[in-house]
Symmetry: D2
Subunit: 337 residues, 4 copies
């Protein structure tokens, strides 16, 4: 960490600051130039409150040199993390397909779709049981009974299950779920993250709609710091000034994330756009950007879907999309097993 | 709700859509023009999934006519909501001052600051016991024992307490807290909102860092829909491209919110800027914009503050600020009792 | 255009409004419901000042039904516009590659790169002569002599030239340029747009860094309204809260734009990210999203590049990238001629 | 400037980089730690291309220590710049009021409003002759004849004139204008800025709708670098995700700007919100934030205003607003002369 000290500082203020920093167990490298005095902090600066320092009267600026995330940082873990769930590998050069309806609606619905997406090439079945909706008056999911229907679909098809959790109170209900999803709105629900960090379940951690890449990795770090290092990151669009699409899918983040973290990262093209007819082009774009997989909403009757039907594609469209992706996978050095 | 239908639609598709809408219990007003066909939906459209309709092949656009929030809507509740907590009124022409440290650190600290801010004019004492921090390695608050220290300060000074909750699991711990704060990161933690809606505590609902005014009111609606209508809204800055300030304080939202909702709305100038030297000008700006109050971080030794010290002002600065505000209150038709 | 009138309006106010609207040559369709009164404006509403109406005391909201752009609107021009420049087609199922250095630096540099990118498959040569730089102290381009060097490269290689204009004063200097580029910062330099609308040159119109899709099409409309309908749109990243990448490449915009406008649209992956190692993945992503082409910065010695070297790839990397794209083009129904 | 070098760099690469930097005339301070190697660049780094360095293979990060603006920087010019125009002082502890209609419409209109706003306390008359409009089909201003009408109003009332320029071609037309305004859309029209830098007119430089504080000061620097240091900055709202207001007025920027630049800064509450009923609260907020003045749209008949009427207040409202401001000015240490 580098501190730029104001030119007109008093010696006593600077001495106080230096002593305070040393009190945190850090060494200091002082460089007094003509126009500026610079302090280099040497040691583990992850505990230093950068905002506090920035606000001190004699400080003109603070620059962080080391990333605040450790366990998620590729610097300290250079090889790709590869998870194995239900016999499928996630990460590395594996390409993972998760598909299914926005909400679980009925036994027939979820089993039919599960069979369809499995036949088309999906590895995992998604489906919402607990639904975070902006409006309290909107359908909130079948909740516990939705989980039961997902497990029936798993029994029927052998597909492992991915579904969203909304409260640490529900963790026991998720004991047979294969991958627990944390939605965008809960990305910084730190009490939930800590509780999930104490489970042994793989966690699909979606990016918050206005969270930076660094904050996203810090949320992964919350889970990892408690001992659970099985994390799959999921880009699902960020909020920008543009309102023509529901969110702006940040595909620039994909190759960047591959550089700075070893965790697998997949893309959700359905929530990003909110429009079913954009799902196919954005899926191909995500493959081109180097995504480790996709999570796609597929429904057999979009008109009747209880929520977010607008962003669902039909099983036949999903199948055609997978065929196009298969053409692309070799050029991005991925394999769909 | 207005649906604009594509020009080249097939009659059968339109008939299907109309029947589907009627099936939701709504009436339809059809208007066929030269360039466009328009459907007006008449009835309670709050249950219609606007995203689903937007994605239909024959639909060119959808426009909502009625706001999706009801209980928080001034249209159905034209008079200002005025809460009364510990003998102080909040809302209407009352100006409310909440002050205290970012984090509760010790009995001496919290009681000293409580006395100082009370003497300077504050009505309520704030202080963080449970702290949402971006990093799992940062100080997370004194938690339960922090709540106990706040209650000691209440006993000592008679000031009612405002403090943040981070999980529905903790509600019992908050039984003696006077106003429960929901932080920006939990604004869409819907399970928490529902649980708070079943309490009888006033809720201070902060705006999420990238949430729209409409989403904010929908989160208030979550609490109100469960029966608890004692809500104070709090603007604390939104996330924008500008990184020179930590957040951009959205003061334009204040006069707008006063038009569309009857709930009181206050401003947090400390978290907005993250810089103590911006607290005074932004406080005066908030008063000018018509805020119903302020929540300000005050600390007697910013250098030692365990978190967010950068944004704390000292008790003497708080006192001077209150004196300046008092000059302004008459021109915005407010009274600080 | 739909006007929602406040419930508590006075009849006289409404009559005044109706008369004023009729004075603009529009017809009115009045619908009085239980909870709201709605006015439908019928006729050419592109001249109505929507902001003025929104601000009237008795108006609760205004919704536009028709897009404000006409000549760029696919509704009135359903077939793809296909430009032909120097024997190459742009738009439709053609895939166009524009490549070259950020800045023209010397005769040797520009001719060498031109030959390299031509050999690798580029159709057009790009190169900056007039450079918009944030800092007045940064290199501003070779200006007139840069244009001369580009034309030498054209003579030498037969490649048509794409280069940026910064002022209507310079139009005469651009008389031998094949495609004139309008940069992001000048997207709403309306005096420049009007002047270019009076030329017969194809215009490459980049999206402004914080401009909506609608504003972008309105800027195309400025050029088209003056008579020049040869426009190529170029997405180059938008400004968001995320600062890890220089801009956020908005690939969701590509399939959307293909729906609403008939104009060709290409992508600039170099400026979007600002990092050469992101150029290849973002290029493949753009192809997947359905882009009609790419404009890529290529340099033979990035370390020595006078500006924006960070985002340049080398000719060999460009060649490898083109080979990968060629695998993808059939699945997006494009041909690189 | 601080460069963080990747741990796994080759010695030869680092030597090349060091030689290249020395070739730019800079000295280097090398610090090799256990986890990172850091290069401190000493000397005038304003010419170093930070983006180029950021993209080098061996560079992990770059941090700027010195601001890239010089002439606008308070560090090198600690005292407030105070302009004097037509006998009125702008900056320092002076509070400046600029008022008038959005567009000049007729001689009677502009003279009537000029008299009204002068009587209410305005120092300068504003009015648009050249109007930047998103749509080519919207009213574009009276242009040259609008300027003539403004000068008639000046003759009649003695008020100095503020009006917007849209092209360097028009500078001669503005020879009798007192303060030339550069609008938000032209903030990075660098050819225009350079041309204005060669005039001796005070320039009112509005912030671009998505431009950072740093870019804004760099645009001021463009004008100042050419010799014209008479600049007034004007905050007018930035573009954010929130669409309920047209723009988000960034009042946090005001006290920050007062710290980092010596130039006067005023606020435009009319364009920020786009709603006349928000003008008064946002004006009082701007005064509270420490603004050096306001530029406010005032019209005697908002319904008939040819553009942006929605954001105009009436002369009587302006008068009442000035009276309220006068109560506040002493607490922010300002005087309205």
């Amino acid at each position: 960490m580098i501190l730029i000290i104001k030119n007109n500082h008093e010696k006593k203020q600077l001495d106080n600051l230096i002593n305070w920093i040393k009190g945190l167990g850090l060494n200091i490298h002082l460089s007094e130039g003509e126009n500026s005095t610079i302090l280099g902090l040497v040691g583990d600066t992850s505990l230093v409150d950068i905002d506090l320092i920035r606000a001190l009267d004699i400080v003109d600026g603070v620059k962080r040199i080391q990333e605040p995330y450790k366990k998620a940082n590729r610097k300290f873990h250079p090889h790709d993390t590869i998870l194995e769930v239900n016999g499928h590998k996630i990460g590395g050069n594996n390409f993972t397909l998760i598909a299914g309806p926005c909400s679980v609606e009925s036994e027939e619905q979820i089993i039919t779709i599960a069979k369809d997406v499995k036949a088309a090439g999906a590895h995992f079945l998604r489906g919402g049981a607990f639904k975070p909706r902006t409006s309290p008056y909107a359908f909130q999911g079948l909740r516990e009974s939705g989980l039961e229907l997902l497990l029936k679909a798993k029994t029927e098809t052998g597909m492992a299950i991915v579904t969203e959790i909304m409260s640490a109170n529900h963790i026991d209900l998720f004991k047979d779920v294969d991958i627990i999803q944390v939605g965008a709105r809960n990305m910084q629900n730190f009490e939930l993250l800590k509780a999930l960090g104490r489970t042994d379940k793989p966690i699909l951690l979606k990016r918050g709609l206005a969270n930076t890449i660094e904050e996203w990795l810090m949320s992964a770090e919350y889970i990892m710091a408690e001992g659970n290092e099985q994390i799959i990151l999921c880009e699902r669009g960020i909020r920008t000034f543009e309102q023509y699409t529901r969110n702006t899918l940040d595909l620039s983040a994909i190759p960047l994330m591959k550089e700075i973290t070893h965790l697998p990262i997949i893309v959700d093209p359905s929530h990003a756009s909110g429009l079913s007819r954009l799902v196919a082009p954005l899926s191909l774009a995500a493959v081109g950007a180097g995504s480790d997989g996709l999570i796609i909403e597929v429904h057999n009757d979009p008109m009747r879907a209880l929520c977010d039907g607008a962003q669902c594609i039909k099983p036949m469209q999903f199948k055609e999309l997978v065929e196009k992706m298969d053409v692309m996978l070799p050029i991005v050095n991925k394999v769909r097993n």
